[in-house]
Amino acid sequence: MKTARFLATELKRLDEAGIRVFIIRGNHDALSKITAELILPDGVKLFRGRAEAVEIARAPGERPVVVHGLSFQKPLAPESLLPSYRPPVEGAVNIGLMHTSLDGAAGHDVYAPCRLADLDAAGFRYWALGHVHQRVVHEGAATVVMAGIPQGRDINEAGAKSVSLVTVRDDGAITVEERMTGIAEFRRVTLDATGITEWTELVAALGRRLGEERALTQTPHLVARVAITGATPLAWRIRRDSDLLKAEADQAATALGRAHVEKLELSIGPAAGAAPIAGDALGELARLVAEDVLPSESFRSTVTGAAAQLRGLLPAELRDLLGADEAASEALLARLAAEGSEEVLARIEADAGSGEGG
C-alpha cells in the first residue's frame, strides 16, 4: 500500500495545483486490489469498464475538450477495443486514452491490437496510447503518440526516455514536445578490439569509447553494456582477466563522471593468421574441444543434466532463464559450452608463462 499511497499523495498535489488527471488501467493493474483501496482526489478521473467521455470544464468562449477512456478488466485482450469507445463529440477537441499494443511490437504479446489507420480514422484529434515502452509518434488526421516510459529500467529499455507534453492551441492545433525525464539511460556500446595488441591500449580504447558515448548522451547518467568484439591477440587475456577489465571499465566510467558500466559482453576471438602447427598442444586441445567434445552426445547430456539440476534450485521468477522450451534451452547451453570452454582454455594457457621457463 505504501507505493499506492505515495501515488495518491502525488495525485493530490496535482489536484491542488488545479491539474486534471485522467487514468486508464492497463493489463498489469487490471488484477490489482491495491488501487481499489485508494481514495483519489476529485480532480482525478479513473475510467471504468465502460467507455466514458468526460468534458473538461472551461470558460464559455473557449473550445470544449472531451477526454475518452476505457479500462479493460482482464489481463488478456485479444481484440481491438476501439469499437467500444464513445463517438467523438461534435465541435470539441476529442482526446482518447487507450492501452494497446497497436500493430504489434517486437517482444510484446498482443494486447487490444488495433491498426494505426483505424485510430486515424476514428475522428479523434489526439490519441494517448500506452502499453509499449518505446516512443512512437504519428501525425496524420489524428496525432497518435505512444509516449513510452519516463525512465528505462534495464538494458532492454535502452535509449533516452521521456514524457510528451502536448499543447492544444486555441485554433485546435496540436503540438507535441518530448521532454526528457530519464535520470539514467541504458545504452549498448560496442568496442572493436581488432588490431589492439597491448592491454593498456585496450583500456585506453575502452575509456575513449565510453567517453564518446557519454558525450553523445544528454541524460544525466549513462549505464552502458559494453560488448567487446573482434579478433585480437589479447583474446585469451581478456577472457582470463575479464574481472580486471570490468574493473578498468568501472574506473574509466568513474573518471568520466556520471557514467556506469553495467556489464561486459565478450565476443572476441584470437588474431587470425596463425597457422597452427602440429605439436602445438594447446592448439590441439582447442581443436579437440571444438570438433570432438562440444558436438558429442555424452557431453551435451552432461551439461543438460547440470542445467536441469540448477534450474530446480532457481527462484520462481527465473524458471525460464535456461530456455523456455527445449529448443531455446539447447541453443543456450550450446552457446554457454562454447564460451565456457574458450574461457577455461584461456585461463589454462594464459597462466602458463608466469614463473616457468628459464
Binding site: 505504501k2 507505493t3 557431453f299 540448477l310 532463464l321 554457454l336 616457468e356 621457463g357
Partner: protein, 1167 residues
C-alpha cells in the same frame, strides 16, 4: 628452425659478442655453453626470446646499453635456407633483415606456427625451477596420465592446479548437497527482502480493514457523545427545577410580608422628596437659632473688656520717627563703638612701631618724615643701578686675575720648551717630512728582507733540480753551456725508429710467411712429381698406336670381332687420353708450381733483404741516439733509452730555470741593500743640516729621531702662538676693569647727593642702598597708618555726638508719658514703645467687635423670616398626609416605599422562576413546581450526575480509540521504501541470473577441457608413452624398466615399472626420481612435437644441479637423443660437465663465455 649464430651485439653486459653454433652438423645438433656465474647464461636465453618475439617495453637488459642502442643479430636456418635477422628496440618495425631493412614480425613468427612467447618458454625451455615444479605437478596430478602428457607437451606444469582452482570457483556459486553456496546466499537475500517488504508494507486487505476500523471507531464515538449530551440536558433541567424551588419559597414569604403593608395611595408628585427636606430644614433652623444667641452673648462680653489709652496714641508718631532716625544709629553705635576704639588704639601702635623701625621713635610728627615721590624715585633708580655696577666690577676684577694667570702659564711653558734643542725652520722641517714619507712608502728594509728570503728559496730549488740530474759532474753553469739536441730532432729520431721497427716486424713476418709458402710449394711439387706421369705418356702413345691398328684392321674386316676390338682399343685410347689430359693438368700444375716457387723464392729473398735493411736502419738510429746521450750523460741511453734522454733534457731545462731564478733573486737583494743605503744617507744629510749629528744609526733609528725632532718643532710653534693670544687677552681685561671702577665712583657721588636732600642723608656715613630702600618702604606704610588713625578718631567722635542727642529726646518722651526718666536709655525706649503699641492694638480690637455685632443683628433677622416660611410648609404637608408631625409622615412614606419594593421583588422572582423552568408563563412553572416531588427529584439528580460522569469517561475512551485508528491508517504512509525494496529484489534476481549462467559456462568449459585432455591423452599416448618410457629407463640407468599406464577412476594413471619386477605409482616416487620422470616426459613431449615435421631450438639452463655424474651422463644422453631431431643448447656453469657431455656425445660443441684480465671477452672454438 635452428640458430647458426646468435650475436649479442649490444645486449645485457655483452658488446659485440657472438655465439657461433655453426651450420647444421650431420650428427647431433647438441651445444654446451659454459660460463662461470654472472657470465650471462640467462641473458643468452632472454636474448633468443627477444629476438623471436621482440624486446619488451621494459627490459632488464639495458643496464649497459641504453634502449635506443640495444641490438641482437642472428643467422637462422629456416626451411633449409640461411637468413639473417637483427632485432632492435623500437615500438614498431623492430625486426630487421641482413641489410637493416625492416621486416614484419611474421617473418620469424610464421616459422613458430603461432606459438607465443610464453608457450615457447613453456614448451622448449627448461630450468631448475620448472624441473622442481614439474616434479610437484606429478604429485598434484595424482598421476593422471592425460594431464601429465598434456602438461609435458605444453609445458604446463600447473595444469591440474588451475583446473582445480576453476572448479573451486564454480563451486562457490553452487555445489550439489552443499549449504553455503553463493546461490543459497542470494536466495536467502531474496527471502529477507520479501520479509522486509511484508513488514513495512500494508496489504490491500489490511488497508480495507484499517479503514473499516477507523470508521467504526468514529461512529461509536459520535454515538457516545450524543448520548452524553442527552443525559446532560436532562440533568440540567433537574438542576433548574431544584434551583427554582427555593426561589418560589422566598417569593411566598415576600407576598406575606406585602400583605401587612398599606395599600398604595396616590400622592402628589415630589412629596416623598419634600418631606425629608422639610425635616432637615427644621433641624437646621433650630440649630442656627441657638448658635446666634450664644454668639450675641460672647460679643457683648468681649467689648466690655477693652481699655483705652489716648496719650500713648498721640505720641506714637513722634516716637516712631525718632526711632527711625536716631534710634537706629544709636543701636548700631552701641555695637560699633567699642570696636572702633580698639581699632584706633591699634593704629596708634602701628605708627609707633614704624617709627621705631625708622629709628625715629620719638618723632612727634610722623608726617614730616615722608619723602615725596620725585626724590623717592631718584633714590629708587640709583638703588636699582647699584647691583649691576657692583656685579660688573667684580667680574672685571675676576677676569683680569684669570687672564694674568694664564699669561704667566704660557710664558712659563714657552720658557720650558725653549730650553731644548735648536729650533727648526720651516724649510728644513718640510724636507724631513718628505724624506720620511718616502721611506715609509718604499719600506726598503722590508724589501730587503723579502729579497733575501726569495734568494734563499731559489738557491734551494736550484739545488733540488741539480740533484735530479745526479750523475752530472759539473754545476749549473756547465750545464747551461751544454749543447743539446732540439726537440724537433728528438721527434725525428723517434719517428725514424718507429718506422724502422715497424718495417722490421713486417718484413720478418713476410719472411716467415714466404718461407712457409715455399715449403708448401715444394711439397706440392714433389707430390705431383710422385705421380708418374711419364708412364701415362707412354701408355697414351701405345694406346694410340693400338687404336690406329685396330681401326685399320676393322676397316679391312668390318666384322663384329674387329668392331669389338676396335671398340676396345678406342676405349683404351680414350682412357689413356683422359689420363694424359689429367696429367697434362698435372704438368701444367707442376710448371705453375715451379713458377710460383721461383717467384716466391725471389720474394723471400727480397723480404730478407728489406728486413736486413730495416735492422740496419734501426741500429743506426739507436747509435745516433746513444751518441747524443753519452755526450750529455754517459750511459744514459743505454739505461733508459730515448725516453730517458728526453727526460734528462727536461730536467736540465728545469735546472737552468732554477739557476736563472737564483741569479735574479741575488740581484734583488743587492738592489734592496742599495736602496737602504741611499735613504739612510739622505736622511742623515737633512738632519745634519739642522744641526743634528746622528752618526751611525740605522735607517729605522734615524727615521725615528727625525720624527721626534719634527714633533717637537711643531710643538714649539704652537706654544708661541698661545703666548701672544694671552697677552692680548690680558690687555683687554685691564681696560675693562678700569671702566668698571670709574662707573662705580660716579654712582657713589650721585648717591650722596640724592641722600643729602632728605633726612636720610644726615649722617656722616651715607646709608647703603639697601637700608634706604627699606626705609622708603617703611615710610610708605607709615603714611598709611597715620591716615588710618586719624580717620578712626574722627568717626568715633561723630558717633558719640549722635548718642547723646538721642538720649535727650527719649527722656523727653518718657516724661510726657509719665514714666521714670532715669535708667538706661535702651530699656526706657523699649518701655515707651510697648506702651504705644498696646494702645494701638486695643483701639483696633474695639472697632472690630462693633462690626460683628452689627452683622449678628442682621442674621438674626433673616433667621426669623425663614422660620416662618418653614412653619407654613410643614403645616401643609402634615395636613396632606393626615399626620401630626413630619416624623409620622416620613414613616408612612417609608412603608409605602417598602411595599413598592416588595412588589418589584415578587415580580422578579416570578420572572426568574419562569425562565429557570423555561415555561411560557409563570403559572405553568408554578404548576410544575407544585407537582414536583422533592425527594424524588433529588434522587434523580444524583443518578443523572453519575450517569453523566460515566458517559464522559466513555467518550474519552472512544476518542482515544478513534485517534489510534486514524493514526494506524495514516502510518501506512506513502513513500518509496517498498519500491526500493522491490528494486533491490530485482537486482538480486539479476545477480542470480548472471551467476547461474556463469556457473554453467564454467562447468561446461571445465568438463569440455577435461574431456579434451582425455582425448588428447588417447591420441598421443602410445607414442609418447613409448618415448617417455625409454627416456625414463635411460635416465634412471635401468633402475626402472619403463613406464606404463593403468586404468583408474577418471581415466588412466601413470605407473613406473621397477626393473626386476614390481611397480610404483608416479606420486610415490622420490623427489629426485620425480625430476627425472618429469624430464623424461618433457623429452618425450619434444620428440612428439618434432614428429610433426618442424623443430625449434630447445634451451636448458643448468638443470643438473641435483644430479650426480651418472645421472648427468644419462641426462646428456637424452639431450643427445633430442639433438638428433632438433637443436639442443645446454647452458651451465659446471665445468666438470664438459667432459661428461663429450663422453656421451662426441659431436657436442662447447662454447665458452669467459673473461680475460683486460676485460675483453674471448671466444675460442674448441673441439
Amino acid at each position: 628452425m635452428r640458430i647458426e649464430r646468435l650475436g649479442l651485439t649490444r645486449y645485457g653486459r655483452f658488446t659485440d659478442h657472438a655465439l657461433d653454433f655453426g651450420p647444421k652438423p650431420a650428427g647431433a645438433d647438441f651445444h654446451l655453453v659454459y660460463g662461470p656465474n654472472e657470465a650471462g647464461k640467462s641473458t643468452t636465453l632472454a636474448a633468443w626470446l627477444d629476438l623471436l618475439y621482440g624486446i619488451g617495453t621494459q627490459s632488464p637488459y639495458s643496464f649497459l646499453h641504453p634502449y635506443a642502442t640495444m641490438r641482437i643479430d642472428a643467422v637462422l636456418e629456416m626451411g633449409g635456407a640461411e637468413r639473417r635477422f637483427a632485432r632492435i628496440k623500437r615500438p614498431q618495425a623492430s625486426l630487421l633483415d641482413g641489410a637493416d631493412q625492416p621486416l614484419p614480425d611474421a617473418a620469424i613468427l610464421a616459422e613458430l606456427g603461432g606459438i607465443g612467447r610464453d608457450a615457447y618458454k613453456a614448451m622448449f625451455s627448461l630450468d631448475e625451477e620448472t624441473l622442481v615444479a614439474g616434479g610437484e605437478s606429478i604429485l598434484a596430478s595424482r598421476g593422471d596420465l592425460g594431464q601429465l602428457l598434456f602438461s609435458a607437451s605444453a609445458g604446463l606444469a600447473a595444469l591440474t592446479r588451475r583446473l582445480d582452482a576453476l572448479k573451486a570457483s564454480a563451486e562457490t556459486f553452487h555445489k550439489p548437497r552443499a549449504h553455503k553456496t553463493g546461490l543459497a546466499e542470494l536466495k536467502g537475500r531474496l527471502a529477507t527482502l520479501r520479509d522486509e517488504r511484508a513488514a513495512i508494507d500494508t496489504l490491500a486487505a489490511d488497508h480495507h480493514r484499517l479503514t473499516a476500523e477507523e470508521a467504526a471507531a468514529d461512529a461509536a464515538y459520535r454515538e457516545a457523545v450524543a448520548k452524553r449530551g442527552e443525559v446532560k440536558a436532562r440533568l440540567e433541567r433537574v438542576l433548574r427545577i431544584l434551583a427554582a424551588l427555593p426561589r418560589r419559597d422566598a417569593m411566598a414569604e415576600l407576598v406575606a410580608r406585602r400583605a401587612g403593608l398599606p395599600a398604595p395611595a396616590m400622592l402628589p408628585a415630589g412629596l416623598a422628596e419634600e418631606l425629608p427636606r422639610l425635616q432637615a430644614l427644621e433641624v437646621e433652623l433650630a440649630t442656627r437659632s441657638a448658635a446666634l444667641a450664644e454668639e450675641a452673648e460672647t460679643l457683648a462680653s468681649e467689648r466690655a473688656a477693652i481699655v483705652e489709652d489716648p496719650a500713648a496714641l498721640a505720641l506714637a508718631d513722634r516716637f516712631d520717627a525718632l526711632q527711625e532716625t536716631l534710634g537706629s544709629r544709636e543701636r548700631s553705635a552701641a555695637l560699633d563703638l567699642p570696636d572702633r576704639r580698639q581699632q584706633l588704639s591699634d593704629a596708634g601702635h602701628a605708627v609707633a612701631t614704624l617709627l621705631r623701625r625708622l629709628g625715629r621713635q620719638d618723632e612727634e610728627r610722623p608726617g614730616a618724615l615722608l619723602i615725596d615721590t620725585a626724590r623717592a624715585a631718584r633714590l629708587d633708580a640709583l638703588i636699582d643701578a647699584r647691583s649691576g655696577i657692583e656685579a660688573q666690577l667684580e667680574a672685571a676684577r675676576a677676569e683680569e686675575g684669570a687672564s694674568a694667570a694664564r699669561l704667566a702659564e704660557a710664558e712659563g711653558a714657552l720658557a720650558a720648551s725653549a730650553g731644548n734643542a735648536a729650533p727648526l725652520d720651516a724649510a728644513a722641517a718640510a724636507e724631513l717630512r718628505t724624506i720620511l714619507a718616502m721611506i715609509r712608502s718604499d719600506d726598503p728594509e722590508g724589501a730587503l728582507a723579502r729579497a733575501t728570503a726569495e734568494a734563499r728559496r731559489s738557491e734551494t730549488r736550484l739545488g733540488d733540480a741539480m740533484a735530479l740530474l745526479a750523475p752530472f759532474p759539473g754545476d749549473a753553469a756547465a750545464l747551461a753551456a751544454l749543447i743539446t739536441p732540439s726537440p724537433a730532432m728528438i721527434a725525428d729520431w723517434r719517428s725514424r725508429r718507429q718506422r724502422a721497427e715497424a718495417a722490421l716486424v713486417q718484413y720478418s713476418a713476410d719472411a716467415v710467411r714466404l718461407a712457409n709458402e715455399i715449403a708448401r710449394l715444394q711439397a706440392e711439387a714433389e707430390a705431383l712429381a710422385a705421380r708418374s706421369s711419364a708412364r701415362a705418356e707412354a701408355e697414351a702413345e701405345a694406346a694410340r698406336i693400338a687404336r690406329d691398328a685396330a681401326w685399320t684392321a676393322h676397316r679391312e674386316r668390318l666384322d663384329l670381332a674387329s668392331a669389338d676390338s676396335f671398340e676396345a682399343a678406342l676405349r683404351r685410347d680414350d682412357a689413356a687420353m683422359l689420363a694424359r689430359l689429367a696429367h697434362v693438368g698435372d704438368a701444367a700444375r707442376r710448371a705453375e708450381i715451379a713458377t710460383t716457387l721461383a717467384v716466391t723464392r725471389a720474394e723471400a729473398e727480397r723480404a730478407a733483404a728489406l728486413r736486413a735493411e730495416a735492422e740496419a736502419e734501426l741500429r743506426a738510429i739507436d747509435e745516433v741516439i746513444r751518441a747524443a746521450g753519452d755526450a750529455l750523460a754517459p750511459g744514459l741511453v743505454a739505461r733508459a733509452g730515448l725516453d730517458g734522454l728526453e727526460e734528462w733534457l727536461r730536467r736540465r731545462e728545469q735546472v737552468l730555470e732554477a739557476f736563472a731564478a737564483a741569479k735574479e733573486a741575488r740581484g734583488a737583494v743587492a738592489m734592496a741593500e742599495a736602496a737602504i743605503r741611499s735613504a739612510t744617507a739622505r736622511l742623515g744629510d737633512a738632519l745634519a743640516r739642522t744641526g743634528d749629528k746622528a752618526e751611525e744609526l740605522s735607517l729605522g733609528a734615524l727615521a725615528a729621531h727625525a720624527e721626534d725632532r719634527l714633533t717637537r718643532w711643531s710643538g714649539q710653534i704652537a706654544d708661541r702662538q698661545r703666548l701672544d693670544e694671552r697677552r692680548r687677552d690680558q690687555g683687554e681685561r685691564l681696560a675693562a676693569l678700569k671702566a668698571a671702577e670709574a662707573r662705580d665712583a660716579a654712582w657713589q657721588a650721585e648717591w650722596r647727593a640724592a641722600l643729602a636732600t632728605t633726612w636720610l642723608g644726615g649722617d656722616s656715613v651715607p646709608p647703603t642702598p639697601r637700608i634706604v630702600r627699606d626705609s622708603l618702604a617703611v615710610l610708605g606704610e607709615l603714611g598709611k597708618a597715620a591716615e588710618k588713625a586719624a580717620a578712626l578718631a574722627d568717626r568715633i567722635r561723630k558717633m558719640e555726638d549722635d548718642r547723646s542727642a538721642y538720649a535727650a529726646q527719649i527722656r523727653a518722651i518718657a516724661e510726657e508719658l509719665g514714666l521714670a526718666t532715669d535708667g538706661d536709655i535702651g530699656p526706657l525706649a523699649m518701655r515707651i514703645g510697648s506702651r504705644i503699641e498696646a494702645a494701638g492694638a486695643n483701639a483696633r480690637k474695639r472697632a472690630e467687635l462693633d462690626a460683628r455685632l452689627a452683622r449678628h443683628g442682621e442674621a438674626a433677622g433673616r433667621l426669623t423670616l425663614q422660620q416662618e416660611s418653614f412653619s407654613r410648609q410643614r403645616d401643609t404637608m402634615t395636613e396632606t398626609l393626615g399626620v401630626a408631625t413630619l416624623a409620622e409622615g416620613a414613616a408612612l412614606l417609608g412603608r409605602l416605599a417598602e411595599r413598592g419594593r416588595l412588589e418589584a421583588d415578587i415580580e422578579a422572582a416570578r420572572r426568574d422562576i419562569r425562565k429557570g423552568l423555561e415555561a411560557t408563563s409563570f403559572d405553568e412553572a408554578e404548576a410544575v413546581l407544585a407537582s414536583v416531588d422533592r425527594d424524588a427529584l433529588a434522587a434523580e439528580r444524583l443518578a443523572l450526575e453519575q450517569e453523566s460522569e460515566d458517559l464522559d469517561q466513555r467518550c474519552r475512551e472512544l476518542f482515544a480509540a478513534k485517534s489510534k485508528a486514524e493514526d494506524r491508517l495514516a502510518a501506512v504512509g506513502g513513500d518509496g521504501r517498498v519500491a526500493a525494496i522491490e528494486a533491490a529484489r530485482r537486482t538480486v534476481l539479476v545477480e542470480i541470473e548472471e551467476g547461474a549462467l556463469a556457473f554453467l559456462r564454467l562447468t561446461a568449459g571445465i568438463t569440455a577441457a577435461e574431456t579434451a585432455i582425455r582425448l588428447y591423452r588417447e591420441r598421443h599416448r602410445s607414442q609418447m608413452m613409448m618415448r617417455a618410457s625409454d627416456a625414463f629407463r635411460t635416465i634412471s640407468r635401468g633402475a626402472y624398466a619403463g613406464l606404463t599406464a593403468e586404468p583408474a577412476k577418471d581415466g588412466e594413471r601413470l605407473i613406473a615399472r621397477i626393473a626386476g619386477g614390481g611397480s610404483r605409482e608416479a606420486s610415490e616416487l622420490s623427489k629426485g626420481t620425480r625430476f627425472q620422470l618429469y624430464l623424461a616426459l618433457r623429452v618425450a613431449g619434444y620428440h612428439e612435437f618434432a614428429a610433426g615435421g618442424r623443430s625449434v631450438p630447445f634451451i636448458a639452463d643448468d638443470i643438473m644441479e641435483s644430479f650426480d655424474d651418472f645421472r648427468a651422463e644419462e641426462a646428456f644422453r637424452l639431450f643427445a637423443g633430442m639433438a638428433a631431431v632438433g637443436q639442443v643448447i645446454y647452458l651451465t656453469h659446471h665445468r666438470h660437465l664438459i667432459p661428461i657431455a663429450e663422453s656421451v656425445c662426441p659431436e657436442v660443441r662447447i662454447h665458452r663465455l669467459d673473461r680475460t684480465e683486460t676485460g675483453e671477452v674471448v671466444d675460442a672454438l674448441a673441439s
